[in-house]
């Protein structure tokens, strides 16, 4: 039983990282009907921005390993996450302005190919800039095991990841459902044309949506590298794809669906790796996806579109 709880904790921690990335996918899909394949690479850029920021701090203020476990360690991790979010938000803005906005009126498949192009650009640009060999993400928060009753071990980094993810999601929920901006964003996801007719500045809202979704990916990138500290320019590919699968699982375009899908996927992955075999771990996400889509063709929470003549 304690093993099961342990897997559940690990799964929730992984699922919350997937959720942050999946939310970005689903928001961009909501406003533009675009599968932003470059999203996984923003995740990678987030990790690298965090990495270089930590190096900069260590260069100027020295490397003090005693502060890792103290509250200042937590504070420092938060700062790194915020800096990464700002950096990726800026990158997302530039990306939208230069690559996606010129294509606003062209067919969707063009946007998709452009997204693939942007993704390749970030990956190879990353290899050029950061080098192709993996880097080691410095430890900014020491792993402190918190023993719970029943032999279950809670990691301090897991607590940080999970709580940060929850805070970010609550903020997002507030932004999307309680503010004027969120209202215009939801209007655009209903119909871009109608939204522009009633005086919503479509370009501005889409740009801010891109910035928010990129910032979430950047935060997820830092959190992922805190728990799996090997980072390289291609690290975003698989987590990005899995987060996308999570978004589709829940019903793409649906924010609650992305959360549900990501949590399910994180749990399923850790259970399979723990109880069956870790070699099929990467295939599992897709198996779950196929089964769910065959039973419910538009995802778990997705709304069905009825085709009319």
């Amino acid at each position: 039983m304690s093993e099961f709880i342990q897997h559940t904790i690990n799964g929730l921690s992984l699922g919350s990282i997937y959720a942050l990335v999946a939310l970005g996918y689903t928001m961009v899909f909501g406003v533009l009907q675009l599968i932003n394949f470059a999203h996984g690479d923003l995740f990678m850029m987030g990790a690298f921005i965090g990495f270089y920021f930590i190096r900069l701090i260590h260069f100027f203020f020295g490397h003090d390993s005693s502060s890792l476990s103290s509250p200042s360690g937590v504070l420092f991790s938060m700062t790194v996450i915020v800096v990464s979010m700002l950096g990726t938000a800026l990158l997302g803005m530039v990306m939208e302005r230069l690559a996606y906005r010129p294509l606003r009126k062209s067919p969707r498949i063009n946007l998709l190919i452009t997204a693939i192009g942007v993704s390749l650009f970030l990956e190879y640009g990353g290899q050029l800039l950061f080098g192709a060999s993996p880097e080691f993400f410095p430890t900014i928060l020491s792993k402190q095991a918190i023993a719970l009753p029943g032999g279950v071990i809670l990691d301090s980094t897991q607590v940080l990841i999970f709580s940060t993810a929850v805070v970010l999601m609550l903020l997002l929920h507030f932004l999307v459902f309680k503010t004027q901006f969120g209202r215009s964003m939801r209007a655009i996801s209903h119909s871009l044309e109608h939204a522009s007719l009633i005086g919503i500045n479509v370009n501005k809202v889409i740009m801010i949506t891109f910035m928010i979704s990129s910032a979430l990916a950047g935060a997820a990138g830092v959190m992922y590298s805190i728990s799996y500290p090997k980072i390289d320019p291609l690290m975003g590919l698989l987590p990005g794809l899995k987060a996308f699968v999570a978004a589709v699982l829940g019903g793409i375009g649906n924010i609650k669906g992305a959360l549900l899908g990501a949590t399910l996927l994180g749990l399923a992955e850790t259970y399979v790796a723990g109880y069956i075999s870790s070699s099929y771990r990467d295939a599992l996400a897709f198996l779950v996806l196929i089964v769910v889509l065959l039973l419910r063709p538009s995802g778990i929470l997705g709304s069905k579109k009825i085709e009319k003549v």
């Binding site: 498949i109 452009t114 640009g125 794809l241 996400a285 196929i290």
Partner: protein, 327 residues
């Protein structure tokens, strides 16, 4: 029908002709890669080989993405199935057979196994449309890849080695030409019109007596069989298979070939396939000039720029004269 038989006869002749040359090659040295014995330099040989294989892939995807309007993101999976099954069958059951027999077995096994998977995915994907179909095909191809990675009989993570290399550049060119002509004839025939009808409006197609489900499944089977052929060409010319070749990145590349050339155009698929295979090699010259490995960055930029400047692809809906439709 008669035309098909006639083409078949001519191709048979061509096959046997090229095989005389091939048998000579095999007598010289069986395991030596043929690229070392060809007239052009090994580098250009590999580039042209890849070009031929990419054109086969791009043409086969045109059947689904371009003609039937089915958005699939898992073409590399079909290619992997064709390549691995054919290589496994030839390696374990026909290791010493005549190259001719090996080639025909490989092509038959590769295309059949791939089309079998295409049939399954076609049926499974019938309920889905748009992006969801794309996701399911992507999922299938990744499952195929991870499964191949875990099957020890085909080499697992080490990859499959020592595959007889009896397919040379001439053979790939020939197969690519056959595939192009075949796809052109399919497009111009009754079935081709049905595919375009389903793409334009499924419900209207249904009203004029076309069964859209049947058309979709048949398009899947045909397209995956051709992708399997491309896999066979790849396996028996490289001599080495690794699952790293068949990731979703490869599938995206094939879609990009179609869209950059012009979605819905056969000539576009060929042009796009040729362009995306040659572009990295052309950019190698730029790299000599700049000194840093900026090649793939420029490749990605070119992709984005083509999409922004020519949203319908390089050719749009147009066809070259020799591939244009008579009706």
């Amino acid at each position: 029908m008669l035309a098909f038989i006639a083409i078949g006869c001519i191709l048979n002749m061509l096959f046997t002709m090229s095989f005389d040359v091939l048998n000579d090659f095999h007598q010289i040295s069986f395991l030596k890669p043929m690229r070392e014995q060809s007239l052009i330099s090994p580098y250009y040989y590999s580039v042209l080989l890849l070009l031929g294989i990419n054109i086969i892939l791009s043409t086969s995807l045109a059947l689904l993405n371009g003609f039937t309007g089915l958005f699939t993101m898992g073409h590399a999976g079909f290619m992997a199935i064709g390549a691995y099954t054919a290589a496994y069958v030839v390696k374990s059951y026909l290791p010493t057979a005549a190259p001719m027999l090996q080639l025909f077995t490989a092509l038959a096994v590769g295309s059949l196994s791939a089309s079998l998977f295409g049939l399954c995915i076609g049926f499974a994907g019938l309920r889905l449309s748009g992006d969801y179909l794309g996701m399911v095909t992507l999922g299938f191809s990744e499952i195929i890849r991870v499964s191949l990675l875990n099957i020890e009989a085909v080499g697992g993570a080490r990859g499959m080695t020592d595959i007889p290399q009896f397919i040379n550049l001439g053979m790939v060119t020939l197969i690519a030409l056959i595939v192009i002509i075949l796809v052109k004839r399919i497009r111009d025939g009754r079935f081709g019109r049905a595919m375009f009808a389903v793409k334009e409006n499924e419900m209207a197609a249904n009203l004029i007596g076309i069964n859209p489900l049947e058309v979709k499944v048949r398009a899947f089977v045909l397209s995956s069989a051709l992708a399997g052929v491309a896999g066979v060409c790849f396996a028996f010319s490289e001599g080495y298979l690794s699952t790293q070749t068949f990731t979703f990145v490869k599938s995206f590349e094939i879609i990009a070939m179609n869209v950059i050339g012009g979605l819905g155009s056969l000539s576009g698929a060929i042009l796009g396939g040729a362009m995306l295979s040659l572009l990295p090699e052309v950019l190698r010259k730029v790299q000599d000039f700049t000194g840093v490995d900026i090649r793939m960055v420029l490749y990605a930029l070119t992709m984005i720029l083509i999409m922004i400047l020519r949203p319908k692809g390089l050719l749009g809906q147009k066809e070259w004269k020799w591939l244009s439709s008579p009706n």
